[in-house]
């Protein structure tokens, strides 16, 4: 490439209108992969400081949009994967903190099937009993008012998942007692059926291999819960139902019971 052409290209990327276009479209994710890679390189160079400045401008201006995005607890193995990627296994403190974050407070001992079944029933009774009697709920991370609860059961009435929602923080908590094994290319998806129009809508996937899962609900999701008659779980292809409705493979279902007395804003 000639020197003249190279200079032309440089001039193009310092023109204010081009810089603004690139920066705003970069921050909103609208650039294609090739241009994104180019911007990633350019913004680190001194000659294109204006581009980096405008990207920062748009990031800051649009950042408040992230504040209303519901939090979602990461899977326990994510932290371990990060540690492995960075070879951070030497720090005992870091490992200890990660374990506190990622590991369940209770390890299942080796039990026979009937013992496990008894334990599951006991867990359901204890969870329901405490939650009904002692509000706010016992879930330590969500000191809040328990608003709705559903015990999702299999076809043979085995309790599988206890779903609780908390009104103050609009948090959904799933205590997963047992779910059938699925293939690696499948996923569990949670659904809510409306009292008003009887439509069933997705509340997203349930991570595989976890016993406790909580996440904040968006306003729209909270409205779905407030209007729900029952919840159900289906098995879908990985990534969730492509049709926006559950497959025929519904494995669990439970009535959604409203507990909080005060009016829930819809």
């Amino acid at each position: 490439m000639s020197r003249k052409l190279e200079n032309t290209v440089i001039q193009r990327y310092v023109a204010p209108e081009v810089v603004d276009h690139l920066a705003s479209n970069y921050v909103t994710g609208l650039l294609n992969a090739r241009v994104t890679r180019r911007v990633n390189k350019l913004r680190k160079q001194y000659d294109y400081l204006a581009l980096d400045t405008r990207i920062t401008y748009w990031e800051q201006k649009l950042a408040p949009l992230n504040e209303q995005v519901p939090a979602l607890a990461p899977k326990p193995e994510t932290w371990k994967n990060i540690q492995q990627s960075l070879h951070l296994t030497d720090s005992k403190l870091a490992t200890k903190q990660a374990e506190q974050q990622g590991q369940s407070w209770f390890k299942w001992p080796s039990l026979s099937m009937w013992q496990l079944s008894s334990v599951f029933s006991l867990v359901v009774c204890v969870v329901l009993g405490f939650q009904l009697i002692n509000q706010p709920a016992i879930t330590p991370t969500v000191p809040d008012v328990l608003s709705y609860i559903a015990v999702l059961e299999s076809e043979n009435e085995t309790p599988q998942v206890v779903a609780s929602t908390y009104g103050e923080s609009k948090t959904l908590v799933l205590d997963i007692l047992t779910l059938p094994d699925i293939d690696t290319e499948q996923s569990y998806e949670l659904w809510v059926t409306s009292k008003t129009d009887n439509q069933t809508r997705s509340l997203g996937e349930i991570p595989k291999g976890t016993t406790n899962f909580d996440r904040q609900l968006s306003e729209a999701e909270w409205r779905l819960i407030a209007d729900s008659s029952f919840l159900l779980i289906s098995i879908e292809d990985e990534g969730g139902s492509a049709l926006g409705e559950p497959s025929e493979d519904v494995i669990s279902r439970g009535l959604c019971i409203r507990l909080a007395e005060r009016e829930v804003q819809i």
């Binding site: 705003s24 479209n25 921050v27 909103t28 994710g29 609208l30 294609n32 992969a33 994104t36 920062t56 990031e59 800051q60 201006k61 950042a63 408040p64 949009l65 992230n66 504040e67 209303q68 995005v69 939090a71 979602l72 607890a73 990461p74 899977k75 994510t78 994967n81 990060i82 990627s85 960075l86 951070l88 030497d90 720090s91 403190l93 870091a94 490992t95 903190q97 990660a98 974050q101 996923s187 439509q199 809508r201 997705s202 509340l203 997203g204 991570p207 996440r215 904040q216 968006s218 306003e219 729209a220 999701e221 990985e238 990534g239 969730g240 139902s241 492509a242 049709l243 926006g244 409705e245």
Partner: protein
């Protein structure tokens, strides 16, 4: 004796730049759920969101020394890393745009205009941004937010609206221009 204040994100990032692994673990504990939520919002897939979160934290650790407190809030800096990684990934993954939840959320973008009229702020969005978004035409606003929130491409927005691609390009271009004028330089 006064209890020491918990370290702020700026401090934790500064310590990460000095290879302080305990600070990195603390940082993860403080912000991972929020950042994972942002990734999930774009990817609509728990496993993909966790993978993006993992990649982002590797980048945060490696690039912590590049964080400049005078240029950006720490959460903005980290959230941007997550969003760009999620945008990259979604270009290579088949999106589930038919999901009823996304449609419901897109309809909910109308609330931005409605709630300003009622004098009520939309959740925690700051007032200036709420006002500026409310001043956009509805299609301009939805297009910009669909791109930012969900990583929709122009082609996908065109498909959602059943509108020609050039019309969508025009909505986005004018929407961003008006937003910039409103937000000020």
């Amino acid at each position: 004796m006064i209890d020491p204040q918990p370290p702020q994100l700026e401090e934790l990032l500064a310590r990460c730049a000095l290879n302080d692994q305990a600070a990195f673990a603390q940082l993860y504990k403080k912000v991972a759920s929020k950042l994972n939520g942002i990734a999930y919002r774009i990817l609509n897939n728990v496993d993909s969101a966790n993978e993006v979160l993992q990649e982002a934290f590797v980048q945060i650790w490696n690039n912590a020394s590049e964080y400049r407190q005078d240029k950006a809030e720490p959460m903005t800096w980290m959230a941007s890393i997550v969003r760009y990684r999620a945008y990259d990934r979604i270009k290579f993954e088949k999106r589930r745009i038919e999901g009823a939840q996304i449609k419901a959320d897109i309809e909910g973008f109308d609330d931005i205009a409605d709630k300003r009229t009622d004098g009520i702020q939309l959740c925690e969005i700051d007032q200036q941004l709420t006002d500026c978004l409310a001043d956009l035409d509805v299609n301009q606003r939805k297009s910009v937010l669909m791109a930012y929130y969900y990583g929709f491409s122009r082609e996908e927005i065109s498909s959602q609206f059943e509108a020609p691609i050039n019309t969508v390009k025009s909505w986005i271009r004018r929407g961003i221009e008006r937003l910039q004028q409103c937000l000020g330089n």
